[in-house]
Amino acid sequence: MRFSGWLVGAGALLAGLVVLALGLELAGYDSGAALGALWSGAFGSWYALTSATLVRAVPLILIGLGLALAFRGGAFNIGAEGQFYAGAIAATWIGLSVGHLPSPLAVTAVLSGAVLAGALWVAIPVLLRVRYGVLEVISTLLLNFVAEALTSLLVQGPLQESQHIYPQSDPIAESARLPLLPGTRLHAGLALALAGALLLHWIFSRTLWGFRLRAVGLGPRAAEIAGRIDSRWITALALALSGAIAGLAGGVEVSGVSYALFQNLSPGYGFTAIAVALLGRLHPFGVVLAGLLFGALEAGAGAMQREADVPAVAVYLVEAVVIIVVLLAESARRHGATTLASPASVVRRAPG
């Protein structure tokens, strides 16, 4: 990553925090206390670092990696939130039934199910794109709401806990849970996320398929004509993989953090991860760093609400400002064109 990328990221973060502080002051909050709580909630202690920041960073990094893959391949997956829930649903369902299996098997089953579920959830947009030319921007987006409604249905119905009081599932079997770092709530999902980053880096920089993906993202016509690459399938595959990874993130969250399914399991990871991917310049290591940053922000937001009485959602404002500043910097550098392949039409284009 070039130096300028760092500078832009740091500047964007600063801008976001400034906007937050100004807004808080205007609203009568004590911005100093709020920002202080934000920091301590994220980095103030070993526990905060591991059990708040890193725990929240894991899904952001995972989904962010998947989105980096998709965006680089020219696919705009805005449905990671729904795919996350699909994975969580599958993970919960499997996790409730594998109690008799030894832990490695149980965890594998749970996570595999999550991956499959995520892939299945994005299969409809993939199909719509390949067959009917419906661009994934809308189709993935709409499926988010379906997934959330489905989750709500399940936790108030078939998956509801045995007492039938709360809208949540029973806890999953012990053997299906990811191992934790002793003394913390940090789970093995972090290792998965970091390994994923290394794998993606290798794919992008060394493999032929990774090169083809990048070519399709940067110049779909030339990739087809000069490279004889079937861009349709490459993009479809990238989209499918990103859905699978988002599903995995949902499974990891269930297997490592919540051990159960309930509504609002995701505080918007699928959308925040878009910012993470963008801020990380679609580079795997950048995504890790950006994921850590946003994980810190959201961890701190919780503390901010508890200690300074500032609503946690305010952190979305910071994230939005970060995205916009990065976009502006990117635009300034390129005078108009962006690195990501923009869909030329919103929803429909000629199939094939």
Partner: protein, 303 residues
């Protein structure tokens, strides 16, 4: 159960529910015809909803509607600055706008109305029955017994149609969305046109949010738009970027959303989440199966 009464009730509910969708989608149609796709529409609606709540609580329902329009335009203005001024990617910028709006409205709401915020009592816009017409069987209550925003939304359809297809400015706007470079060569100030269209979309979107609060739900809750802004964008596509098509599609969605009331009336015990899923699933099906080849404005989404 009187079938007539049930049908009347259902239609009236459908039109009432469709109104915010129609308003948002009409505004977005104008914006998209000029080449701008505003995924921040969801955030615009939400911001409008909050502004309406604040305005209504402070000065009354019409002030609430006015505040919503202004707030919608303001947010759309930010979006316009980023994607037209700085020529940044529209999809990501739109997503950022919605994200920021959720944060902003959530924070301001808690600040203005406290942490619980349950059952906020707002002065609302009462239905304004059209004398005579509202007594018509079946459609009377549905189309002529609604609050003011519904009449506004229905009126907007022919007005926007006439603007787009019978005026020079409308022609210039459509040219901007189809072939911006050609429009520029013909002397059209494409950036101004797009900015104006985006702001118009923001005004309509804000008003849509106000309608939701002041003429439907009666209160504000965080994230109350629940994806309606995105549904509006789907409606624009389904309506083929034509005001009349958009109106029909909006009505269809309103009906889908009102189905849950119908089922309740009929005493059918179906989990309400299925009705939540229905509009989105329908949108997907419709997008895939839209008859004939749908052609978006050729320069939509391009900087």
């Amino acid at each position: 159960m009187d079938a007539m009464a049930v049908t009347e009730g259902f239609l009236a509910a459908a039109v009432r529910v469709a109104t915010p969708l129609l308003l948002a989608a009409t505004g977005e149609t104008v914006a998209q015809r000029s080449g701008v796709m505003n995924l921040g529409l969801e955030g615009v609606m939400l911001t409008g909803a909050l502004a309406a709540a604040v305005g209504a609580a402070t000065w009354g329902p019409w002030a609430g509607a006015g505040s919503a329009v202004l707030a919608g335009m303001l947010l759309a203005g930010v979006f316009a600055l980023v994607v037209i001024g700085a020529r940044a990617d529209q999809v990501i910028a739109g997503t950022a706008i919605t994200l920021g709006a959720v944060g902003l409205t959530g924070t301001i709401y808690r600040l203005a109305f406290g942490a619980t915020g349950a059952g906020l009592d707002l002065p609302t816009l009462a239905p304004l029955p059209v004398p005579g017409l509202s007594k018509l069987p079946v459609i009377g209550a549905a189309f002529f017994g609604q609050p003011a925003p519904t009449y506004l939304s229905l009126l907007a359809v022919p007005v926007v149609w006439w603007f787009l297809f019978r005026t020079k400015t409308g022609l210039a706007l459509r040219a901007t969305g189809e072939a911006a470079s050609v429009a520029r060569a013909s002397g059209v100030r494409t950036r101004v046109v797009r900015a104006a269209a985006t702001l118009a979309g923001g005004a309509f979107g804000g008003l849509a949010g106000a309608t939701l609060v002041l003429a439907q739900v009666g209160t504000f809750a965080e994230r109350m738009t629940a994806g309606r802004g995105y549904v509006a964008i789907a409606i624009v596509v389904l309506g083929r970027w034509h005001p009349v098509g958009v109106a029909l599609a909006s009505l269809g969605f309103g009906a889908a959303m009102a189905l849950q009331f119908l089922f309740q009336t009929l005493g059918l015990d179906v989990p309400y989440q299925l009705f939540l899923m229905l509009p989105y699933a329908l949108a997907l099906l419709a997008l895939a199966g839209v008859v004939g080849r749908v052609k978006a404005p050729a320069d939509l989404g391009k900087s």
